[in-house]
Symmetry: C2
Subunit: 180 residues, 2 copies
């Protein structure tokens, strides 16, 4: 993993890929699959929707930190496996053969296989809507990966893989944040 400017971290979330969210409860690492995410500001702040239905939620609320990791499409079947079992009775890092790497600012681990990892602290929990607001503290990218496409959950059991990338930087210039 190589450091990524924090001002670019939001560009991994804005396109809407499925992500993994890791936690550390003081005893063991855990990881969940989340497809309900949103950028909230460029610093970056991110929102995710999660709640008691995810075993990780207790650790997330108690430790107030996590890592948001962005998997490539080659990890899709592991991402689905992670999302359809529970850390309550499964060591998901072992079962899905994921490499937990130390983060800089949080005890939750980076996922070595992922394209990018964003270390986060919880800045707010909006219980009424089950929205958790995160602030990115540091970001990392994996420069050695050949497969760089992410995958988007549709919600009906199908997933859309990234296709072509279109460059509209000139047309978008007035809207891009400084220091990108």
């Amino acid at each position: 993993m190589r450091p990524l400017k924090l001002s670019r971290a939001f560009t991994w979330i804005e396109p809407g890929p499925v992500v993994l969210v890791t936690t550390y409860d003081g005893t063991k690492y855990n990881v969940m699959t989340i497809s309900w995410t949103m950028v909230v500001d460029f610093t970056p702040k991110l929102a995710i929707t999660t709640g008691d239905w995810n075993y990780s939620y207790a650790a997330l609320r108690r430790t107030r930190e996590c890592v948001v990791a962005i998997p490539g499409v080659d990890l899709l079947d592991r991402v689905i496996g992670i999302g359809t079992c529970s850390g309550r009775d499964t060591d998901k890092f072992a079962r899905f053969n994921l490499t937990a790497k130390p983060a800089k600012h949080v005890a939750a681990p980076l996922v070595g296989e992922c394209l990018a990892n964003i270390e986060c602290k919880v800045v707010d929990v909006i219980r009424k809507h089950q929205i958790v607001v995160l602030e990115g503290l540091a970001a990392h990218v994996n420069p050695r990966r050949r497969e760089r496409r992410t995958v988007h959950a549709v919600g009906d059991g199908t997933f859309v893989v990234d296709g072509r990338r279109l460059d509209r930087r000139t047309a978008m210039a007035s809207k891009l944040p400084a220091g990108l």
Copy 2:
């Protein structure tokens, strides 16, 4: 536009496409481009991040309703144009040659050129984070469109077009909502 089961509306937002959000302030229609969106529940509730920097925000807060429309990739340059000018001094429906169609439950218009439209009411404004929570009231799809790919903003002026769709319905069965 053909009616879409409301229980399927979230499947247009979960993959993370750029969307258009229309409003009607009592005098004129307006439309803004939003790429910071998130599903909050299956009913559906949706979150978007917006604020005073969008001229539409005043109408959204006052009328407490809008339409979330999902454009195809063929509309990308219009979507960027919509996102880089203001309804304060521009009739965007006229300038970008969009067809405003009557909605069922809200005064904000559907966008005839889009792949899908979700009529929404505002159920909460979380001012601290500039998050607006919407509830879908009705949904519509455009069955006549040939180009069905959506587009995902990266946030750096580039956009990723939908690629292949992978079917994982069997593996995901335990996680899919009833009545989809």
